[in-house]
């Protein structure tokens, strides 16, 4: 990877399904608009939103990326008809691009269960278990 990328750089092994990322991004955009983000930037807020806890540095440790990583999920927030930034970002990444749906194939299920403390009863739909915790974490 060359230069800085203006986007949320996420560890794809911690993502059950892209829906989860949409939920995190939607929440970040919402909180940004009403001035109630917990972190300073929209892209860090997306990463924070993925985490089941309210600990920011924890969220970055789990869901952020490090130099040794072999895969990255990049999330950009942009107006629907403005894709220039996306092209720029793609030019900066040296690697093979895969369909976003394929992140589900990479997920480390055991890690997810441990981190979100899901119960065996929730095994039938891990995505719902994760999204529920993300949605409700501010009031737990």
């Amino acid at each position: 990877m060359e230069g800085k990328i203006d986007g949320a750089l996420i560890n794809p092994f911690m993502i059950v399904h892209p829906f989860e990322v949409l939920v995190a991004a939607n929440k970040a955009v919402h909180l940004h608009r009403i001035g109630k983000m917990k972190t300073r930037r929209m892209y860090s807020e997306i990463i924070y939103n993925l985490s089941p806890t309210n600990n920011i540095s924890d969220a970055f440790k789990r869901f952020g990326t490090s130099d040794s990583d072999t895969a990255v999920l990049i999330v950009l927030v942009h107006p629907t008809d403005e894709t220039r930034h996306m092209t720029e970002v793609m030019a900066k990444v040296d690697g093979q691009q895969i369909p976003v749906e394929d992140v589900s194939k990479m997920v480390d299920t055991a890690q997810i269960k441990k981190l979100y403390r899901t119960t065996p009863q929730e095994d039938s739909c891990l995505l719902d278990a994760v999204v529920c915790r993300m949605a409700v974490k501010d009031v737990i």
Binding site: F19, V29, Q121, D128, C132, I140
Partner: protein, 238 residues
């Protein structure tokens, strides 16, 4: 923040939705949120209440609802997943239990069907309700507004067996007290018998299933009987 106080997510959602219920406390819409069939429950301000008090109460209901949904799901009780909560407009985005009917409508439809198969299907349902409520009380969740409209039956899912979902947890709270659980069952009994006339025997079957599967049900049923008696006395005096 949008001009009318609703967030972008809410506004976008509302563009293509169908209002399915306008209640006294909330409006319930059905639509698509981030690609998923979703129910939006929007609690609106009550103009007769003081704005600050109203805001506080409405916020509390929203919080209680989402907390209880998560707690139930963790315990394996079927309840819709929560996708997003907007605390500025008291909106909850919930998993749409697609293809479900309220237990209320289900019972009514059975009662209209041929006599022969009625009893068996109703008994089966009553038993299922008893089991789910036992599980909920085992988790110390008091629903606070148990009615047959606040339970959804999803027929024809992955399995032959219909799944019973609990919804509408805005008045719920956590308590281990048999009294609170007894009152919860009393509220259901009242609602059940007034919504579905001549179902006393059916409700007894529900209680029987509840009792059989809940270790601490004995003290709850005692409390239920106490509350029933109080209720009767009050109506005799009044």
């Amino acid at each position: 923040m949008a001009v009318d106080g609703r967030s972008v997510a809410v506004q976008q959602f509302l563009k293509k939705t169908e209002l399915i219920k306008q209640g006294a406390e909330a409006r319930v819409y059905r639509g698509i949120f981030l690609g998923k069939p979703t129910i939006l429950k929007e609690r609106f301000p009550k103009l007769y209440r003081h704005p600050l008090l109203d805001e506080k109460l409405t916020h509390r209901r929203t919080v209680q609802e989402v907390r209880a949904l998560l707690r139930c799901r963790k315990a394996g009780i079927s309840a819709p997943a929560v996708y997003f909560v907007d605390y500025t407009c008291h909106c909850i985005f919930l998993e749409d239990i697609v293809g479900s009917v309220t237990v209320r409508d289900y019972i009514t439809s059975i009662q209209l069907s041929p006599q022969k198969s009625q009893e068996e299907r109703l008994d089966h349902l009553a038993k299922k309700m008893g089991l789910v409520l036992a599980k909920m009380h085992e988790e110390d969740v008091i629903h606070g507004d148990l009615t047959t409209s606040n339970m959804l039956l999803k027929v024809g899912g992955d399995t032959e067996e219909a799944d019973l979902f609990l919804i509408d947890f805005g008045l719920s709270y956590i308590s281990a007290l048999p009294e609170d659980k007894g009152v919860d069952m009393y509220v259901l009994e009242k609602a059940f018998l007034s919504t579905h006339p001549n179902t006393e025997a059916l409700f007894e079957k529900l209680l029987k299933a509840y009792t059989a599967s809940y270790r601490k049900s004995h003290s709850v049923i005692n409390k239920l009987n106490e509350v029933r008696l109080r209720g009767r006395k009050r109506s005799m005096v009044g």
